[in-house]
Protein backbone atom coordinates (compact mmCIF):
# COMPACT_ATOMS: atom_id res chain seq x y z
CA UNK A 1 0.00 0.00 0.00
CA UNK A 2 2.73 2.46 0.87
CA UNK A 3 5.24 1.64 -1.80
CA UNK A 4 6.73 4.94 -2.83
CA UNK A 5 4.87 5.85 -5.98
CA UNK A 6 7.30 8.48 -7.13
CA UNK A 7 10.61 6.64 -7.18
CA UNK A 8 10.72 6.56 -10.92
CA UNK A 9 10.54 10.31 -11.22
CA UNK A 10 13.54 11.72 -13.05
CA UNK A 11 14.20 14.32 -10.38
CA UNK A 12 14.37 11.66 -7.68
CA UNK A 13 16.75 9.57 -9.73
CA UNK A 14 18.94 12.61 -10.28
CA UNK A 15 18.97 13.44 -6.57
CA UNK A 16 20.02 9.93 -5.65
CA UNK A 17 22.80 10.02 -8.19
CA UNK A 18 23.92 13.42 -6.97
CA UNK A 19 24.14 12.21 -3.38
CA UNK A 20 26.03 9.14 -4.57
CA UNK A 21 28.48 11.38 -6.44
CA UNK A 22 28.94 13.55 -3.37
CA UNK A 23 29.75 10.45 -1.35
CA UNK A 24 32.04 8.74 -3.87
CA UNK A 25 34.05 11.83 -4.72
CA UNK A 26 34.15 13.73 -1.42
CA UNK A 27 33.05 11.17 1.22
CA UNK A 28 30.21 13.30 2.48
CA UNK A 29 27.34 10.90 3.01
CA UNK A 30 23.86 12.37 2.81
CA UNK A 31 22.30 9.21 1.44
CA UNK A 32 20.46 8.55 4.67
CA UNK A 33 19.23 12.03 5.30
CA UNK A 34 15.47 12.64 5.41
CA UNK A 35 14.73 12.97 1.74
CA UNK A 36 11.96 15.57 1.82
CA UNK A 37 14.16 18.14 3.54
CA UNK A 38 17.21 17.40 1.49
CA UNK A 39 15.21 17.68 -1.69
CA UNK A 40 13.99 21.10 -0.62
CA UNK A 41 17.49 22.28 0.12
CA UNK A 42 18.86 20.86 -3.10
CA UNK A 43 16.14 22.55 -5.12
CA UNK A 44 17.11 25.80 -3.50
CA UNK A 45 20.76 25.21 -4.30
CA UNK A 46 20.06 24.30 -7.90
CA UNK A 47 17.90 27.35 -8.39
CA UNK A 48 20.30 29.79 -6.78
CA UNK A 49 23.27 28.34 -8.63
CA UNK A 50 21.35 28.89 -11.84
CA UNK A 51 21.42 25.26 -12.96
CA UNK A 52 18.61 23.65 -14.91
CA UNK A 53 18.85 20.12 -13.51
CA UNK A 54 20.38 18.10 -10.69
CA UNK A 55 22.39 16.29 -13.34
CA UNK A 56 24.00 19.61 -14.22
CA UNK A 57 24.68 20.19 -10.54
CA UNK A 58 26.26 16.74 -10.31
CA UNK A 59 28.47 17.51 -13.27
CA UNK A 60 29.67 20.75 -11.67
CA UNK A 61 30.22 19.03 -8.34
CA UNK A 62 32.38 16.30 -9.85
CA UNK A 63 34.55 18.59 -11.95
CA UNK A 64 34.78 21.77 -9.91
CA UNK A 65 35.97 21.33 -6.32
CA UNK A 66 34.90 24.89 -5.49
CA UNK A 67 31.38 23.63 -5.78
CA UNK A 68 31.70 21.42 -2.71
CA UNK A 69 31.67 24.09 0.01
CA UNK A 70 28.87 25.91 -1.75
CA UNK A 71 26.71 22.82 -1.87
CA UNK A 72 27.58 21.84 1.70
CA UNK A 73 26.43 25.24 2.87
CA UNK A 74 23.01 24.51 1.43
CA UNK A 75 22.90 21.01 2.82
CA UNK A 76 24.16 21.52 6.32
CA UNK A 77 24.17 25.07 7.60
CA UNK A 78 21.55 25.61 10.18
CA UNK A 79 20.65 28.94 11.70
CA UNK A 80 19.57 28.52 15.29
CA UNK A 81 19.05 30.69 18.33
CA UNK A 82 20.99 30.93 21.55
CA UNK A 83 18.93 29.34 24.31
CA UNK A 84 16.36 28.18 21.77
CA UNK A 85 13.53 26.66 23.86
CA UNK A 86 14.55 28.39 27.10
CA UNK A 87 12.79 25.72 29.16
CA UNK A 88 15.33 23.14 27.92
CA UNK A 89 18.22 25.21 29.26
CA UNK A 90 16.32 25.89 32.44
CA UNK A 91 15.97 22.13 32.93
CA UNK A 92 19.71 21.65 32.29
CA UNK A 93 20.45 24.38 34.81
CA UNK A 94 18.07 23.25 37.52
CA UNK A 95 18.01 19.49 37.12
CA UNK A 96 21.14 18.32 35.28
CA UNK A 97 23.70 20.75 36.71
CA UNK A 98 23.23 19.54 40.34
CA UNK A 99 24.34 16.07 39.17
CA UNK A 100 27.22 17.42 37.12
CA UNK A 101 28.51 19.36 40.12
CA UNK A 102 29.42 16.09 41.81
CA UNK A 103 32.12 15.36 39.20
CA UNK A 104 35.62 16.84 39.44
CA UNK A 105 35.93 17.17 35.67
CA UNK A 106 33.35 17.20 32.90
CA UNK A 107 33.11 16.60 29.19
CA UNK A 108 30.28 18.06 27.16
CA UNK A 109 29.66 17.32 23.49
CA UNK A 110 27.63 19.61 21.28
CA UNK A 111 27.06 17.33 18.30
CA UNK A 112 26.20 19.11 15.08
CA UNK A 113 27.01 22.53 16.53
CA UNK A 114 26.57 24.37 13.23
CA UNK A 115 27.37 28.05 13.83
CA UNK A 116 27.67 27.70 17.58
CA UNK A 117 24.48 29.08 19.12
CA UNK A 118 23.85 26.01 21.27
CA UNK A 119 27.54 25.81 22.23
CA UNK A 120 27.71 29.38 23.54
CA UNK A 121 24.43 28.90 25.35
CA UNK A 122 25.88 25.97 27.28
CA UNK A 123 29.25 27.61 27.94
CA UNK A 124 27.51 30.68 29.35
CA UNK A 125 25.22 28.51 31.45
CA UNK A 126 28.20 26.52 32.77
CA UNK A 127 30.06 29.74 33.60
CA UNK A 128 27.05 31.07 35.46
CA UNK A 129 26.86 27.84 37.41
CA UNK A 130 30.58 27.79 38.18
CA UNK A 131 31.28 24.64 36.17
CA UNK A 132 33.07 26.09 33.16
CA UNK A 133 36.57 25.74 34.56
CA UNK A 134 36.29 22.01 35.05
CA UNK A 135 34.65 21.34 31.69
CA UNK A 136 35.91 20.58 28.21
CA UNK A 137 33.36 21.33 25.51
CA UNK A 138 33.60 19.44 22.24
CA UNK A 139 31.83 21.28 19.43
CA UNK A 140 31.61 19.17 16.29
CA UNK A 141 30.09 19.50 12.86
CA UNK A 142 30.70 18.05 9.42
CA UNK A 143 30.76 21.46 7.84
CA UNK A 144 34.09 23.21 8.12
CA UNK A 145 32.64 26.62 7.30
CA UNK A 146 30.06 26.26 10.03
CA UNK A 147 32.80 25.34 12.51
CA UNK A 148 34.75 28.43 11.52
CA UNK A 149 31.67 30.54 12.10
CA UNK A 150 31.14 28.87 15.46
CA UNK A 151 34.75 29.58 16.38
CA UNK A 152 34.38 33.22 15.35
CA UNK A 153 31.25 33.63 17.49
CA UNK A 154 29.90 36.64 15.60
CA UNK A 155 26.16 37.06 15.13
CA UNK A 156 23.97 39.75 13.62
CA UNK A 157 22.99 42.16 16.35
CA UNK A 158 19.31 42.02 15.48
CA UNK A 159 19.25 38.34 16.44
CA UNK A 160 20.89 39.04 19.79
CA UNK A 161 17.70 40.63 21.09
CA UNK A 162 15.99 37.25 20.79
CA UNK A 163 19.03 35.49 22.30
CA UNK A 164 18.86 37.89 25.25
CA UNK A 165 15.18 37.26 25.81
CA UNK A 166 15.72 33.49 25.61
CA UNK A 167 18.65 33.67 28.01
CA UNK A 168 16.56 35.56 30.54
CA UNK A 169 13.73 33.03 30.27
CA UNK A 170 16.18 30.17 30.72
CA UNK A 171 16.98 31.44 34.20
CA UNK A 172 20.16 33.27 33.20
CA UNK A 173 21.99 34.67 36.19
CA UNK A 174 23.93 37.33 34.31
CA UNK A 175 23.25 39.69 31.45
CA UNK A 176 23.98 38.30 28.01
CA UNK A 177 25.55 41.64 27.15
CA UNK A 178 28.38 40.74 29.54
CA UNK A 179 29.57 38.23 26.96
CA UNK A 180 29.73 40.17 23.71
CA UNK A 181 30.82 43.43 22.19
CA UNK A 182 28.58 45.12 19.68
CA UNK A 183 30.00 46.90 16.67
CA UNK A 184 28.84 47.55 13.13
CA UNK A 185 25.58 45.69 13.60
CA UNK A 186 27.29 42.57 14.90
CA UNK A 187 27.81 41.00 18.27
CA UNK A 188 31.22 39.41 18.82
CA UNK A 189 31.16 36.91 21.64
CA UNK A 190 34.06 36.96 24.04
CA UNK A 191 37.07 34.78 23.21
CA UNK A 192 37.23 33.67 26.85
CA UNK A 193 34.08 31.63 26.22
CA UNK A 194 36.13 29.45 23.88
CA UNK A 195 39.05 28.76 26.16
CA UNK A 196 37.73 25.30 27.09
CA UNK A 197 36.20 24.50 23.71
CA UNK A 198 37.62 22.04 21.20
CA UNK A 199 36.21 22.54 17.70
CA UNK A 200 36.40 19.52 15.49
CA UNK A 201 35.20 17.95 12.27
CA UNK A 202 33.08 14.99 13.14
CA UNK A 203 30.38 13.13 11.28
CA UNK A 204 27.56 11.36 13.02
CA UNK A 205 27.21 9.34 9.82
CA UNK A 206 30.68 7.87 9.61
CA UNK A 207 32.87 8.78 12.58
CA UNK A 208 33.28 6.98 15.89
CA UNK A 209 33.35 7.66 19.60
CA UNK A 210 36.09 10.08 20.67
CA UNK A 211 35.64 10.44 24.41
CA UNK A 212 33.54 9.69 27.43
CA UNK A 213 30.95 12.42 27.86
CA UNK A 214 28.92 13.54 30.85
CA UNK A 215 26.47 15.50 28.71
CA UNK A 216 25.67 15.36 25.01
CA UNK A 217 23.42 18.01 23.53
CA UNK A 218 22.28 17.36 19.98
CA UNK A 219 19.18 19.37 19.23
CA UNK A 220 17.35 19.39 15.93
CA UNK A 221 20.17 17.67 14.12
CA UNK A 222 18.69 14.20 13.89
CA UNK A 223 15.42 15.46 12.41
CA UNK A 224 17.41 15.69 9.18
CA UNK A 225 18.30 12.00 9.31
CA UNK A 226 16.26 9.01 8.27
CA UNK A 227 15.48 6.37 10.87
CA UNK A 228 18.49 4.18 10.19
CA UNK A 229 20.87 7.11 10.50
CA UNK A 230 19.10 8.38 13.62
CA UNK A 231 19.63 4.96 15.06
CA UNK A 232 23.34 5.06 14.30
CA UNK A 233 23.70 8.48 15.90
CA UNK A 234 21.80 7.45 19.02
CA UNK A 235 23.98 4.34 19.28
CA UNK A 236 27.02 6.54 19.05
CA UNK A 237 25.67 8.73 21.84
CA UNK A 238 25.02 5.70 23.98
CA UNK A 239 28.59 4.52 23.54
CA UNK A 240 29.97 8.00 24.14
CA UNK A 241 28.15 8.69 27.39
CA UNK A 242 29.54 7.86 30.76
CA UNK A 243 27.26 5.80 32.92
CA UNK A 244 24.54 8.11 34.20
CA UNK A 245 25.54 10.63 31.53
CA UNK A 246 22.91 12.90 30.01
CA UNK A 247 21.58 13.27 26.48
CA UNK A 248 19.46 16.24 25.39
CA UNK A 249 17.68 16.28 22.02
CA UNK A 250 15.23 18.63 20.31
CA UNK A 251 11.80 19.10 21.83
CA UNK A 252 10.05 17.35 18.92
CA UNK A 253 12.58 14.57 18.54
CA UNK A 254 12.23 11.14 20.07
CA UNK A 255 14.29 8.08 20.94
CA UNK A 256 11.14 6.00 20.58
CA UNK A 257 11.99 4.61 17.16
CA UNK A 258 15.57 3.72 18.03
CA UNK A 259 16.85 0.27 18.89
CA UNK A 260 18.99 1.97 21.53
CA UNK A 261 16.10 3.55 23.39
CA UNK A 262 16.25 0.93 26.18
CA UNK A 263 19.68 2.25 27.16
CA UNK A 264 18.18 5.58 28.17
CA UNK A 265 15.79 6.60 30.92
CA UNK A 266 13.64 9.72 30.80
CA UNK A 267 15.28 12.33 32.99
CA UNK A 268 13.29 15.46 32.19
CA UNK A 269 10.65 14.01 29.99
CA UNK A 270 8.99 17.13 28.64
CA UNK A 271 12.37 18.61 27.70
CA UNK A 272 13.64 15.44 26.04
CA UNK A 273 16.55 15.08 28.42
CA UNK A 274 17.57 11.47 28.97
CA UNK A 275 20.01 9.72 31.26
CA UNK A 276 22.03 6.73 30.25
CA UNK A 277 21.12 3.78 32.40
CA UNK A 278 23.87 2.56 34.67
CA UNK A 279 23.33 -1.08 33.87
CA UNK A 280 24.94 -2.63 30.82
CA UNK A 281 28.25 -0.86 31.15
CA UNK A 282 29.60 -0.38 27.67
Amino acid sequence: MSTPTQLDKVEDIEIRLLLEALFLKYHYDFRHYAMASIKRRLRQARQQLGLATFSALQDRLLHDPDMLPRLLAYLTIQVSEMFRDPSYFKAIREQVVPHLRTYPSLKVWIAGCSEGEELYSLVILFREEGLEDRTIFYATDINHQALEAAEAGVYPLERVQLFTENHRKSGGKSSLSDYYQAAYGRARFDASLRRNVVFSDHSLVSDAVFGEMNLISCRNVMIYFDRSLQDRAIGLFEESLSRKGFLGIGSKETLRFSGHSAAFADFVREEKIYQRRSTDAG
Binding site: S2, P4, T5, Q6, L7, A34, M35, A36, S37, K39, R40, R41, Q78, V79, S80, N220, M222, I223, Y224, D226, R227, Q230, G250, K252, E253, T254, F257
Partner: protein, 187 residues
Protein backbone atom coordinates in the same frame (compact mmCIF):
# COMPACT_ATOMS: atom_id res chain seq x y z
CA UNK B 1 -9.14 10.46 -13.60
CA UNK B 2 -9.54 11.13 -9.86
CA UNK B 3 -7.26 8.59 -8.25
CA UNK B 4 -8.25 7.13 -4.94
CA UNK B 5 -7.35 9.73 -2.34
CA UNK B 6 -4.79 8.91 0.29
CA UNK B 7 -4.33 12.10 2.29
CA UNK B 8 -5.60 15.64 2.81
CA UNK B 9 -3.42 18.65 3.59
CA UNK B 10 -4.87 21.91 4.87
CA UNK B 11 -3.26 25.33 5.33
CA UNK B 12 -4.80 28.19 7.26
CA UNK B 13 -3.67 31.46 8.78
CA UNK B 14 -5.67 34.44 10.08
CA UNK B 15 -9.11 33.14 11.06
CA UNK B 16 -7.86 29.55 11.08
CA UNK B 17 -9.45 28.37 14.31
CA UNK B 18 -12.96 29.40 13.26
CA UNK B 19 -12.58 27.95 9.76
CA UNK B 20 -11.18 24.66 11.01
CA UNK B 21 -13.92 24.48 13.62
CA UNK B 22 -16.49 24.30 10.86
CA UNK B 23 -14.60 21.48 9.11
CA UNK B 24 -12.82 19.14 11.51
CA UNK B 25 -15.39 18.43 14.24
CA UNK B 26 -17.91 17.50 11.55
CA UNK B 27 -15.81 14.53 10.42
CA UNK B 28 -17.31 11.28 11.62
CA UNK B 29 -15.51 8.40 13.27
CA UNK B 30 -14.37 6.01 10.58
CA UNK B 31 -13.15 8.79 8.29
CA UNK B 32 -10.29 6.97 6.66
CA UNK B 33 -7.84 9.58 5.38
CA UNK B 34 -5.13 11.33 7.35
CA UNK B 35 -5.58 15.10 7.53
CA UNK B 36 -2.41 17.12 7.96
CA UNK B 37 -2.81 20.74 8.96
CA UNK B 38 -0.46 23.73 9.07
CA UNK B 39 -1.72 26.77 10.94
CA UNK B 40 0.28 29.96 11.35
CA UNK B 41 0.47 31.07 14.95
CA UNK B 42 2.17 34.12 16.36
CA UNK B 43 5.53 33.12 17.82
CA UNK B 44 4.52 34.14 21.32
CA UNK B 45 1.39 32.00 21.21
CA UNK B 46 2.84 28.53 21.14
CA UNK B 47 -0.43 27.03 22.21
CA UNK B 48 -1.05 23.63 20.76
CA UNK B 49 -3.78 23.51 18.14
CA UNK B 50 -3.86 19.78 18.72
CA UNK B 51 -5.07 20.23 22.27
CA UNK B 52 -7.69 22.72 21.21
CA UNK B 53 -9.16 20.42 18.59
CA UNK B 54 -8.76 17.15 20.44
CA UNK B 55 -11.70 18.12 22.62
CA UNK B 56 -13.88 19.01 19.64
CA UNK B 57 -13.21 16.17 17.21
CA UNK B 58 -14.36 12.58 16.93
CA UNK B 59 -11.16 11.69 15.09
CA UNK B 60 -7.83 11.30 16.82
CA UNK B 61 -5.95 14.62 16.90
CA UNK B 62 -2.19 14.81 17.35
CA UNK B 63 0.77 17.08 16.95
CA UNK B 64 2.96 15.44 14.31
CA UNK B 65 6.23 14.05 15.63
CA UNK B 66 9.44 13.47 13.75
CA UNK B 67 9.45 10.07 11.96
CA UNK B 68 5.87 9.28 13.00
CA UNK B 69 4.10 7.16 10.40
CA UNK B 70 1.14 9.02 8.88
CA UNK B 71 -1.87 7.09 10.22
CA UNK B 72 -5.28 6.85 8.62
CA UNK B 73 -8.20 8.66 10.17
CA UNK B 74 -5.98 10.95 12.22
CA UNK B 75 -5.74 14.74 12.23
CA UNK B 76 -2.18 16.04 12.57
CA UNK B 77 -1.06 19.57 13.33
CA UNK B 78 2.42 20.86 12.58
CA UNK B 79 4.28 21.69 15.82
CA UNK B 80 4.92 25.40 16.33
CA UNK B 81 8.26 26.70 15.04
CA UNK B 82 9.06 23.64 12.87
CA UNK B 83 8.36 22.91 9.24
CA UNK B 84 6.42 19.69 8.74
CA UNK B 85 7.17 17.49 5.73
CA UNK B 86 5.91 14.15 4.48
CA UNK B 87 8.36 11.57 3.19
CA UNK B 88 7.74 9.15 0.33
CA UNK B 89 7.43 6.31 2.85
CA UNK B 90 4.53 8.12 4.55
CA UNK B 91 6.36 9.24 7.63
CA UNK B 92 6.74 12.77 8.91
CA UNK B 93 9.95 14.76 8.97
CA UNK B 94 10.43 18.01 10.85
CA UNK B 95 12.83 20.73 9.88
CA UNK B 96 14.20 23.90 11.47
CA UNK B 97 15.11 25.43 8.14
CA UNK B 98 14.55 29.16 7.82
CA UNK B 99 10.97 30.43 7.74
CA UNK B 100 9.43 30.54 4.28
CA UNK B 101 7.42 33.70 3.58
CA UNK B 102 8.05 34.58 7.23
CA UNK B 103 6.31 31.40 8.34
CA UNK B 104 7.47 28.32 10.20
CA UNK B 105 5.64 26.03 9.86
CA UNK B 106 5.10 26.89 6.22
CA UNK B 107 2.09 25.68 4.27
CA UNK B 108 4.17 25.59 1.07
CA UNK B 109 6.76 23.30 2.66
CA UNK B 110 4.12 20.81 3.79
CA UNK B 111 2.20 20.96 0.52
CA UNK B 112 5.23 20.59 -1.74
CA UNK B 113 6.59 17.61 0.16
CA UNK B 114 3.16 15.98 0.31
CA UNK B 115 2.72 16.55 -3.42
CA UNK B 116 5.99 14.67 -3.98
CA UNK B 117 4.95 11.87 -1.64
CA UNK B 118 1.32 11.33 -2.65
CA UNK B 119 1.15 12.59 -6.23
CA UNK B 120 -2.42 12.43 -7.56
CA UNK B 121 -3.71 10.86 -4.36
CA UNK B 122 -3.56 14.11 -2.46
CA UNK B 123 -6.14 16.79 -1.74
CA UNK B 124 -4.83 20.27 -0.86
CA UNK B 125 -7.04 22.86 0.80
CA UNK B 126 -6.10 26.52 1.30
CA UNK B 127 -8.27 28.35 3.82
CA UNK B 128 -8.47 31.87 5.17
CA UNK B 129 -5.29 33.91 5.65
CA UNK B 130 -3.69 37.29 5.22
CA UNK B 131 -0.54 36.30 3.33
CA UNK B 132 0.44 34.27 0.28
CA UNK B 133 1.61 31.03 1.89
CA UNK B 134 0.11 27.91 0.33
CA UNK B 135 -0.13 29.26 -3.20
CA UNK B 136 3.06 27.59 -4.46
CA UNK B 137 2.27 24.47 -2.53
CA UNK B 138 -1.19 24.15 -4.02
CA UNK B 139 0.26 24.65 -7.47
CA UNK B 140 2.66 21.77 -6.78
CA UNK B 141 -0.22 19.53 -5.66
CA UNK B 142 -2.24 20.28 -8.78
CA UNK B 143 0.90 19.86 -10.88
CA UNK B 144 1.24 16.30 -9.56
CA UNK B 145 -2.37 15.57 -10.42
CA UNK B 146 -3.84 16.11 -6.95
CA UNK B 147 -7.00 18.04 -6.15
CA UNK B 148 -6.81 21.74 -5.25
CA UNK B 149 -9.52 23.41 -3.18
CA UNK B 150 -9.56 26.99 -1.99
CA UNK B 151 -11.92 28.66 0.43
CA UNK B 152 -13.95 31.12 -1.67
CA UNK B 153 -12.21 34.44 -0.94
CA UNK B 154 -15.48 36.33 -0.46
CA UNK B 155 -16.45 33.86 2.27
CA UNK B 156 -13.08 33.89 4.03
CA UNK B 157 -12.26 35.83 7.18
CA UNK B 158 -9.07 36.99 5.40
CA UNK B 159 -9.15 36.74 1.63
CA UNK B 160 -5.49 37.32 0.66
CA UNK B 161 -4.32 33.74 1.04
CA UNK B 162 -7.16 32.13 -0.91
CA UNK B 163 -6.84 34.83 -3.56
CA UNK B 164 -3.11 34.21 -3.95
CA UNK B 165 -3.74 30.47 -4.26
CA UNK B 166 -6.41 30.96 -6.91
CA UNK B 167 -4.23 33.36 -8.82
CA UNK B 168 -1.41 30.86 -9.00
CA UNK B 169 -3.74 27.91 -9.63
CA UNK B 170 -6.74 29.04 -11.70
CA UNK B 171 -8.00 25.45 -11.89
CA UNK B 172 -8.31 25.12 -8.11
CA UNK B 173 -11.94 25.00 -6.98
CA UNK B 174 -13.19 27.87 -4.82
CA UNK B 175 -15.69 26.57 -2.29
CA UNK B 176 -17.42 27.82 0.84
CA UNK B 177 -16.64 26.13 4.13
CA UNK B 178 -19.99 24.35 3.98
CA UNK B 179 -19.18 23.03 0.54
CA UNK B 180 -15.73 21.91 1.67
CA UNK B 181 -17.30 20.13 4.65
CA UNK B 182 -19.70 18.35 2.32
CA UNK B 183 -16.84 17.44 -0.01
CA UNK B 184 -14.88 15.90 2.85
CA UNK B 185 -17.90 13.89 3.87
CA UNK B 186 -18.16 12.44 0.37
CA UNK B 187 -14.50 11.69 -0.14
Amino acid sequence: MPAEREAIVIGASAGAVEALTSLLPALRPGFRLPIIVVVHLPADRRSAMAELFRAKCALEVREAEDKDPVAAGTIYFAPPDYHLLVEADRTFSLSCDAPVLFSRPSIDVLFESAADAYGPKLVGIVLTGANADGARGLRAIIGEGGAGIVQAPSSAFASAMPEAALQMSPTARPMTLQAIAAYLEEI
